[in-house]
Amino acid sequence: MKAPFSAYLESIEPALRSLVEILGKQYEYVSILSTDSVGFQLTLSQHSKSVTNQNRTTERGSVVRVYRGGRYSEFAFNEFDREKVAEKAAEISAELEKQFSLLELCACETYDTPVLDDEPIELFCEKEAEILPETADTAKLIDELMSVSDLGVKTIPGALDCQAGGSSTHISKLFLSRNRTMRQSYVYTEGMYAAFAPSKNGEMKMVYEGVSGLCGPEILFTIKDKIREAPKIMEDVQGSGKIVPGEYDVITAPDVTGLIAHEAFGHGVEMDMFVKGRALGADYIGQRVGSELVTMHEGALCAESVTGYAFDDEGTLAGDVTEIDHGILRTGICDALAAKRLGVRPTGNGKRENYAHKAYTRMTNTIFDSGSDSLDDMIASIKFGYLLAGSESGMEDPKHWGIQCIIGRGYEIKDGKLTGNVVSPIVMTGYVPDLLGNISMTSGDRCVFGTGACGKGHKEWVKVADGGPYLKTKARLG
């Protein structure tokens, strides 16, 4: 079935269009993004259960963007009476004028920027979903997630608790400007389990895995497949040792490959950072940043994932950008304002945490292309090193191309074979061009993961996905 576009947004569209027209008499450019997204979040464990119809992406509200004299301003709100459009327009102007007065008082200069393009676009896109979150059988979902928790506690050695959860959102967004009317609706869902158990020396260990997709809550019924792998993973972690710090030959499992993609040339080529002079990537367009085996794509059209939208939060159509082509950095990703400032076309990567937040250049799907090697051959090629799995978190440093990845497990490889020894946890650090330049083998398969969220610095959390194949490279581990 199609995920239907919000009836509420349909009902206020004429009034919002009037708001654009009224404000258009004072400003050179006016656009409105309005959202109405509904969903749920379920969290079940042996000790507590909760259900709420609020999650990270449920929202209802609007943000107006206006432009005058080289300056962009925004007003975000969630109280709107369609009978009082003129009053709302006056309120927006008055509040922004107060800010302009303060800026004048403080003698602030403006980063002079050209007006945004507003080429005509009409779009109506409703994507497929088997089940909608608002009509899902909550009782059935709770039973399923509780059975995951029960199975985890029963089968994972020493498990103290196993939390199972899921969230699903039916997103509806409406973008209006003088020349654009864009409407989209889609459903994405993610689920996870997290099991906790002590190691032999009493250290608390956690094993986590998730599922996600551009689909309805039906995907939550596949978490049980994941929890069946959990006992082995927990045993590995419980019996793990600490790594001897140093540089090693490594193979990254697809989830760790995705983390590298995200941190290395995801954040590294967000072009709003180019505007601020915060990214080294700006100086390396057309130059080699990885081995011949490295090709990387970014864009909402790259995969049917949690971030598979049709247009971004600035009314730019979704794209598929080849960032790195056989090791050569080709381009970055860009929101509309940064594109205007850099004199390039936006790539459909202008995203907001929600309607009340500013749009920045943000990632969508960031994915390494697969190659032709087999995992067995990759392992056989290593004299001493580690197979790294269990992506936990990462941090970028686009200015210096440093990278930090926290990884759950390292499986020791000696003389071309897995020894069964495991180290945990691992901090992988390094210089991005070295890490990508040393990629010497890539497997033929690839996976995309969408259970995480990405911040800009330490805030502005948005849904992203990343992935790729197994990669063989060299990395510094600690």
Binding site: S45, Q46, H47, S48, K49, S50, V51, N53, Q54, R60, G61, Y72, S73, E74, F75, A76, F77, N78, E79, Q99, F100, L102, L103, C106, A107, C108, E109, T110, Y111, T138, L160, F196, E203, M204, M206, K242, P245, G246, K276, G277, R278, L337, A356, K358, G394, M395, E396, D397, K399, G402, I403, Q404, I406, V427, T429, G457, K459, R476, L477, G478
Partner: protein, 430 residues
């Protein structure tokens, strides 16, 4: 809308309900260098409803929640509340009681002057002394007035208005064609001009040092000193361990009356939850469930004294009175900052992302700038990482008697952990 929702909730005949109205008025300013990138106004209002149902004659308490938007019509609200009512019956948590004690402290409704606070921030940044070698790259200013009005089915009511501000700052330093950056994320109530100026100047000084930093040597292990906001990660671990939720889930091993480590060979930590800290971004005396936040020791002299948490988990632990913790003070250091910095150590003042896992206590962080002190010589270093286990380091942990406040936490100014793994890049020089 508040009164409409109250009537609808009362009509349910539920075992209990909670209703919270939250209004946010925000002013935001984004600067590239000192030029305005964008200005923004945020005006939002939401209504959170939580409905509780008694199941099997009070053996269980079910609950579910939703957020009602002010643009929802009567029919939509009825549908949403009906949905929450049905969902609450599906959740079976052992019975606990909502807050019923009346709040005997006055509401806190002093208006927040967004314009003045914004001006303080803008002028402070404009007044920072920059040079051709060190300057501000960009900054984002978020100033909010948050208004919260709470009511539950037992008639417990409270309302407050408080300021909350956030700063996102990037500074640059450059020399001979090489440029580096440092990032700072600051949260607070309003603008403390002097403190902010010092924070920015410290960041500029660190930036200058990073330019001349050498690669971190392959030390393998050693003492690491923390003297910036990253140290909050260390102290947050102890707060998590005293959270009733983690105790009920058996993830916290802390026990009331049992020391947090076998033998104290360093300083002995005390942790006190407090209702208020000056200029905290969470300066309100009542938590989200209507519990009054009282000053109380969570850990005193290394011995857990009180767990804290939501009504549900606090009551499961048998705590009659409890609340969530908004602000906390950590103390117990015997020596001054200089004594904590004695001998050889690596003081890291800038990480890519320093983390202490709240459950396992695993420590990890890539070093962007550290000061390596060996044999009395101090060398700026960069690159590599530190890792280790906080539970293993507690017994020898040392921290200064001087304190410093980072928003909601008052922590020792200098903290030292022994025997962390240090993954370096350069060969170790004699």
């Amino acid at each position: 809308m508040f009164d409409v929702l109250k009537k609808k909730l009362e009509a349910l005949g539920a075992a209990g309900w909670e209703l919270t109205e939250t209004e946010k008025r925000g002013w935001e300013f984004y600067f590239i260098r000192h030029q305005l990138d964008q200005n923004r106004v945020v005006e939002t209002r939401t209504y959170s409803v939580k409905i509780y149902r008694s199941i099997e004659d009070g053996k269980y308490l079910g609950s579910a929640s939703d957020v009602i938007s002010p643009t929802m019509n009567d029919e939509e609200i009825d549908r949403r509340i009906a949905s929450v009512w049905e969902q609450a019956a599906l959740i079976r948590n052992p019975m606990y009681k909502l807050v019923s004690e009346p709040i005997n402290i006055p509401d806190k409704n002093n208006p927040v002057d967004l314009e003045k606070i914004s001006r303080d921030f803008i002028e402070t940044f404009a007044g920072v002394a920059e040079t051709s070698g060190e300057d501000i790259n960009s900054y984002e200013i978020f100033v909010s007035s948050l208004s919260r009005r709470f009511l539950n089915s037992n008639g417990v009511a409270y309302s407050c208005v408080y300021p909350s501000s956030t700063i996102d700052l990037v500074v640059n330093a450059r020399r001979e064609g090489h440029e580096i950056e440092l990032f700072r994320f600051i949260t607070c109530g309003t603008c403390d001009r002097e403190k902010l100026r010092k924070d920015v100047e410290d960041a500029l000084r660190f930036g200058k040092d990073r330019l001349v930093a050498k690669n971190t040597p392959k030390l393998q292990s050693g003492a690491v000193v923390f003297s910036t906001a990253d140290a909050c990660e260390i102290y947050d671990y102890f707060l998590y361990q005293m959270n009733a939720s983690l105790k009920i889930r058996k993830i916290s091993s802390y026990e009331i009356g049992q020391p947090i480590c076998d033998k104290f060979e360093g300083d002995i930590l005390s942790v006190k939850a407090v209702s208020s800290l000056p200029n905290s971004s969470r300066d309100y005396p009542v938590d989200g469930e209507g519990s009054v936040i009282e000053d109380r020791y969570l850990i005193r002299d290394g011995i857990p004294e009180n767990f804290y948490g939501t009504r549900q988990f606090a009551q499961y632990l048998g705590l009659e009175k409890s609340s969530n913790v908004q602000n906390a003070v950590f103390s117990g250091g015997k020596g001054d900052a200089a004594s904590v910095r004695s001998g050889d150590y690596l003081e890291v003042v800038d990480f890519s992302d320093f983390q202490v896992d709240p459950m396992s206590g695993d420590i990890a962080g890539e070093i962007r700038l550290g000061y390596l002190c060996r044999g009395g010589k101090i060398t700026p270093v960069t690159g590599g990482s530190i890792s280790g286990s906080l539970p293993a380091a507690v017994s020898t942990m040392r921290f200064s008697k001087e304190s410093v406040q980072y928003d909601t936490l008052m922590i020792p100014a200098v903290t030292r952990l022994e025997n962390l793994r240090i993954t370096g890049i350069a060969e170790l020089e004699d």
